[in-house]
Structure formats: C-alpha cells, structure tokens
C-alpha cells in the first residue's frame, strides 16, 4: 500500500510542476512544488496557504480477488487567503484556480506503480488508479477559504510487496 501512496504523491507532484510551475513552496529549506504529504512533514501550527496537502484517511481491502485490492481514501486539502497585492480580495479566484489545478493533476486517473524505497526507484508490474474527485463545500475561516477533495485510490498488492 505504501508504494501506491508514494506513487500517487510523486505523480501529482510531477504533474503540478508541469501544470503550474509557479506554485512552489519552501519547506525544510528545500524549494519544491506546492504539494506535500501531511504525514511525512512536521505538523504545522497553521495550515500552509496555497499548497496541496495529501492526507490519507480511509483504507479497505478487497480479499475476494486473486490479488488483494487496496482501496484508500486520500483527502487533498488546500487553503488560500488570496494575494497580498489584492489584499486577499481575490481569494475566491485563487481557490478556483486551485480547484482547476486539482482536476488537471488527477487526470489521467492512473499511473504505473513505482517502488521509491529503492534507489533508483523501480517500476512495478501493476498500476495505481483512482476515482474522479469529490469536491467538498468551501470552508470559510476568517479571511481564508479552504476545500477538501476526496479521491479513492486503488492498487493491487503485488507478490512480496509490503
């Protein structure tokens, strides 16, 4: 399952670098595309603005198939307060831009599964595929807007995979 989670993140990160190269962040002294895995970073006091945070929540396994099919829920959370130039009054437009980017990041809805625990990374035999996104309503907190998008990620457990 971990390989599927890693593949999903790296795929979205690569696509984000192509879709919007300007969406970057500096985290732990490294500048990188504005997307992160929450469980692999230190918990922030405040949600990071204008970046996508992947949060893995649900997990189910279908044991009736020849290979175990893992079904994991990924919540993509993002929050914006607009830009300084517009004094935050463009926060609605900024959120819409992130909504649009999410759609572009997720399509196509599959990627070859890769094992990133090895160096160099090894492409595996199956693919990781995922559902269309479900957009939750906007949450307003003072001058910030945030949204959660739910995606169900599927992956077959390969022989010898942990």
């Amino acid at each position: 399952m971990q390989n599927a989670k890693d593949t999903f993140y790296i795929t979205l990160r690569s696509r984000l670098a192509a879709v919007n190269p300007a969406r970057t962040m500096t985290l732990r002294a490294a500048t990188r595309p504005g997307i992160l895995v929450s469980e692999a970073e230190a918990p922030p006091a405040q949600p990071l603005l204008d970046v996508f945070a992947l949060n893995w929540t649900g997990m189910q396994a279908d044991l009736q198939l020849p290979a175990i099919l893992a079904r994991m829920t990924c919540e993509i959370r993002y929050c914006t307060a607009g830009t300084q130039n517009n004094a935050g009054l463009d926060r609605g437009r900024a959120l819409e831009e992130m909504d649009s980017e999410v759609l572009k990041l997720l399509y196509p809805y599959s990627a070859p599964k890769v094992n990133y625990t090895q160096d160099p990374a090894v492409t595996m035999e199956t693919i990781v595929f995922w559902s269309e996104p479900e957009f939750d309503p906007i949450t307003t907190l003072r001058d910030s807007l945030s949204r959660t998008v739910k995606v169900t990620v599927f992956a077959f457990q390969e022989q010898g995979e942990q």
């Binding site: 985290l27 732990r28 990188r32 895995v37 469980e39 692999a40 006091a45």
Partner: protein
Amino acid sequence: MADLSTQNPCGLAQRVATALLRAAGGTTACLQLPPLQGDSTNAGQLGLNAPGFLSLPLAPAVFRKARVAMQDGQMPKYELLISADAVAAQVTQRQLSSAQTLFSMAAGVVVAGKLFLIEAVSASESQGMAYVYRLLLQEACGEWAM
C-alpha cells in the same frame, strides 16, 4: 494622529526580561530547525530519509504548564517564555528576516529531552521591540528521547 514624542530604545526591557527569566529558573530550549541544505529528493519528501534537524539552543527560557488536560485524549499544553535577546542573536546568526520566520521554520521545540509542537507564537513589546516571546506548546505523542 501620530505620536511624535521622542522615544529612545535603550534595551532596558530586553535586559530586564532576560534577567527575570534567568532568575526564575531559566532553562534552555532547543528549536528543531531544518538543515541549511534542504533534502529535495523523493525519499526526503516521502518520509524515508531522516530530516536531520538542527538543534538551536535558546536561553534563558522559562517552561511551564499552561493548561491542565480536562478531557481524555487531550494532550497537555505548555508555555515557553524565551528571552528576545536570545532569539535576536539566532535570527542574526542565521540571517533571517524576523523571529517569526525562525519560529515558522521550526518543526518543534525540545525541552529537557522531550519534543513539543509549536501551536502559537506571540511577542510582548516595549517601544516597538520585542523583549520576550511566548510559545504555546503541545506535547508530542512520540515518547522518544531527544
């Protein structure tokens, strides 16, 4: 209307705060900061590589329990008061723009070998200059010794 009266900051509040914190049993708190050279590899972003946090000592500081946990599962909260002189020295040494930047970079604070997460940061000021920083901390779930 602007206050145009002459005020010459002489660092009195900073010195008093530092002396008070030291007298009140001042201890040393260590900010956990990312290394100067960030890890931009895949493994670094997937939780595979050790982050290699640097421990940045700040002293004098006073550490105390801020609120008693009243509900099951609620982690106790603590308060850390740090001398602004100590923070200013580290901000200058690391060539950062502000103390806020320093605290926002930190992944946590280690006090007496235990890791705490930063929930909020505030500063008390005199004549427009901070003399003490107050960090609201929450105990980290990990029980490892730092």
